[in-house]
């Protein structure tokens, strides 16, 4: 795998107030790539979905830590990894089906993964029941050609 040109990691508690904090932090980090408004909105929406999944599902009724790693790879490639140490997903394929949700009280649309898949180029989910889930999001920005030299 190529070496990242830049990287940042934040760890925060699964409080719902951190949904806006985490997507703003990711958007702010990737602003150095000079993305279009639409690309920034795509990234914010995908991060918001992934982090909300950790809060609503991984740590349902409990508090735990969420780790977000953001990296920039050559050729304007955006990489975001969202990791939790919560309950895990027993059936990833089922969880990724549009409109599927296990949440009966919170009025969830069951569209989190569908939105991530639609707004990012690639979505990878790894999960172990009882250990947690890692969601990796990738997107190549078209905004401007990179000269490959981080400043």
């Amino acid at each position: 795998m190529k070496k990242p040109l830049n990287e940042m990691t934040i760890t925060f508690l699964s409080r719902s107030a951190n949904e806006s904090f985490s997507r703003a932090a990711a958007a702010s980090f990737f602003s150095q790539l000079d993305p279009t408004l639409e690309e920034i909105a795509d990234i914010k929406t995908a991060v918001s979905e992934a982090v909300t999944n950790c809060i609503v599902h991984a740590y349902r009724n409990t508090l735990g830590k969420i780790r977000l790693t953001a990296r920039i790879y050559p050729d304007n490639e955006v990489y975001i990894q969202i990791r939790d140490y919560g309950c895990g997903i027993p059936d990833i394929e089922k969880a990724m089906e549009p409109l599927f949700t296990t949440c009966e009280t919170g009025e969830r649309a069951g569209l989190g993964f569908a939105v991530m898949q639609s707004f990012m180029d690639r979505v990878l989910v790894r999960s172990a029941p009882g250990k947690g889930t890692t969601v990796t999001l990738r997107k190549t920005l078209s905004s401007k050609p990179s000269d490959g030299s981080p400043r």
């Binding site: 806006s20 918001s48 909300t52 969830r108 569209l111 989190g112 569908a114």
Partner: protein, 102 residues
Amino acid sequence: MPVSFENRERTLVACLSGDIDHHSAALLRESIDRMAESALPETLILDFGGVSFMDSSGIGLIMGRFKLMQSMNGAVRVEHASPYLKKLMGLAGLSLLPITIS
């Protein structure tokens, strides 16, 4: 308050503003339902003109209000959605429901 209301004859307009995510949706949901259940409008207009960000929690919010209005024999209209919000609503298949989106 991220929502304000205008009550015109049989129509309740809920003007939403700011970010709509899982965190803010709970408060919006309670406010809108309380208002709709007392005003009993024929049409509930959700005005997204002031919304700066929305994720799928906003879709849940629209679908939930649609169900509420259906139970009161009323309708839901979505107004002033930006192209980005329309993209999200299209992905969710909201256009398949009898909800007017403009």
